[in-house]
């Protein structure tokens, strides 16, 4: 299962690298949906081979979001903040994974193995749909201008790059 996921992720990173800039954000949202479908598919699989196939597909989605989100962050964050922005991103994602691993035993006890996995998959799809509703598929990889003291009245300076 882990090898299938990693293999899928490697394929996803290659696919993401070949996307056109304007397709990157929609690609991330689609990748998140595929990730959730892969996990949910794995949960519902009656045999190991079907679970492996589902995980391979889910891994592709994970690979696309992995590359896409980092590339967008690097393209949008001011150069002098790149290290701090990447550190916050890495910290948030690592913390989330640790938290998820921490509650997994509780979820298994509550919902059973398949139920816990299915709920994680469905919740992932729901999060991706929330991203769609928030318009995150319109994000563009354009640098966000630094908010200087004179312009602090512009509350959402970064939203200029959110093309609707």
């Amino acid at each position: 299962l882990i090898t299938a996921w990693t293999g899928g992720m490697t394929l996803g990173t290659i696919i993401a690298g070949r996307l056109r800039s304007r397709l990157l954000a929609p690609g991330i949202v689609l990748g998140l949906v595929v990730l959730g479908l892969g996990v949910a598919g794995g949960a519902l699989s009656p045999t190991m081979w079907m679970a492996i196939a589902a995980y391979g597909i889910g891994g592709v989605g994970d690979g696309v979001q992995l590359v896409g989100a980092r590339a967008l962050l690097l393209q949008r964050a001011p150069a002098h903040l790149a290290g701090r922005a990447c550190a916050v991103f890495t910290g948030a994602t690592s913390g989330a994974i640790s938290l998820g691993m921490g509650v997994s035993a509780f979820l298994v006890a509550l919902l059973g193995v398949r139920g816990a996995l299915l709920s994680a998959g469905v919740a992932s799809i729901a999060a991706a749909l929330a991203a769609l509703l928030l318009g995150l598929h319109h994000l563009q990889g354009e640098p966000v201008p630094e908010m200087l003291p004179a312009t602090t009245g512009t509350r959402r300076a970064g939203e200029h790059a959110l093309i609707s």
Binding site: L1, I2, T6, T13, G17, R18, S21, L32, G36, V39, S45, P46, T47, A51, G63, Q65, V67, A69, L72, L74, P78, H80, L81, A82, G83, R84, A85, C86, A87, V88, F89, T90, G91, A92, S94, G95, A96, I97, S98, G100, S104, A105, V113, R114, L117, A120, S124, A127, A128, A131, L136, H138, V144, E146, L148, P149, A150, R156, G158, L162
Partner: protein, 255 residues
């Protein structure tokens, strides 16, 4: 300009070297965590002890994010990453020799502190390494290398662990980290801090404040983190699925 058949620019030497280094680092991380988890479990037979070791490696990445980010932005990036690589090497040498649980946890904590700089640093360095390749293509290349390394690491841990024991595997991994430190120093990464526009937010928490200000990007980080939280659940639950559910299915079918 040299071009690939698909008309995208060829990767420059620094990006090619960084790709090889990324494979080594990811493989080394995978090797170290698998070898250590196995050793701790064999010595303690406690899943709590294994969890504590894994948390000691992972928590610094979250807790030290503001400090690590500031170091990466303010100090010469190549040197910061090289020092972090040497710190990993020192921790791994210590881990190869230490066997008590407390010493293991403290040394893994040291490993985690260095990793809190390496992980974001290798991402933040991408625009400097990309050269004429787009940031997206360079990110794809380096993350692909990470995945390749992640796949190789546990395999190496198994092979090296069975041939020469966990200590040999950890010493070899330490050697790889020293090689990484030397390699990263040759890539010509930024030697001086990038100057911030006058009056711009440039403090320790500026990374977090930037993500609040760039609301769409901040929301994307939240969504991706939530997703990865659920992925964290699946990372553990899939083991139960493989062992308890799917392996039992063929045996259950005839009855």
């Amino acid at each position: 300009m040299q071009r690939n058949p698909d008309h995208s620019p060829a990767a420059a030497r620094p990006l090619r070297i960084a790709t090889a280094l990324q494979v080594m680092v990811a493989a080394g991380n995978g090797l170290a965590y698998v070898a250590l988890a196995l050793r701790v479990y064999q010595e303690t037979h406690s899943t709590l002890a294994v969890t504590m070791v894994l948390l000691a490696g992972g928590l610094p990445v979250l807790l030290l994010a503001p400090v690590s980010g500031l170091l990466l932005d303010r100090l010469p990036m190549g040197r910061v990453l090289a020092v972090a690589g040497l710190m990993v090497a020192a921790s791994l040498c210590g881990l190869a020799l230490a066997h008590s649980l407390m010493a293991t946890i403290l040394l893994v904590l040291g490993f985690g502190v260095a990793d809190s700089v390496l992980q974001p640093g290798l991402t933040a360095a991408i625009p400097q390494l990309a050269g004429e390749v787009s940031v997206l293509r360079a990110t794809s290349r380096l993350q692909g290398a990470t995945m390749g390394g992640t796949a190789i690491g546990p395999l190496l841990a198994g092979v090296l662990g069975s041939l020469g024991g966990t200590s040999t595997a950890l010493f070899l991994d330490a050697g790889v980290s020293v090689l990484f430190s030397v390699g990263i120093s040759t890539l010509g990464l930024r030697a001086a801090r990038t100057s911030a526009p006058q009056g711009a937010d440039d403090g320790m928490g500026a990374g977090l404040r930037y993500l609040r200000r760039d609301r769409p990007m901040g929301l994307l980080v939240v969504v991706v983190s939530v997703m990865l939280g659920f992925l964290g659940v699946t990372m553990v639950v899939e083991l139960f699925l493989a062992e308890r559910v799917l392996h039992e299915a063929p045996r259950a079918m005839p009855s």
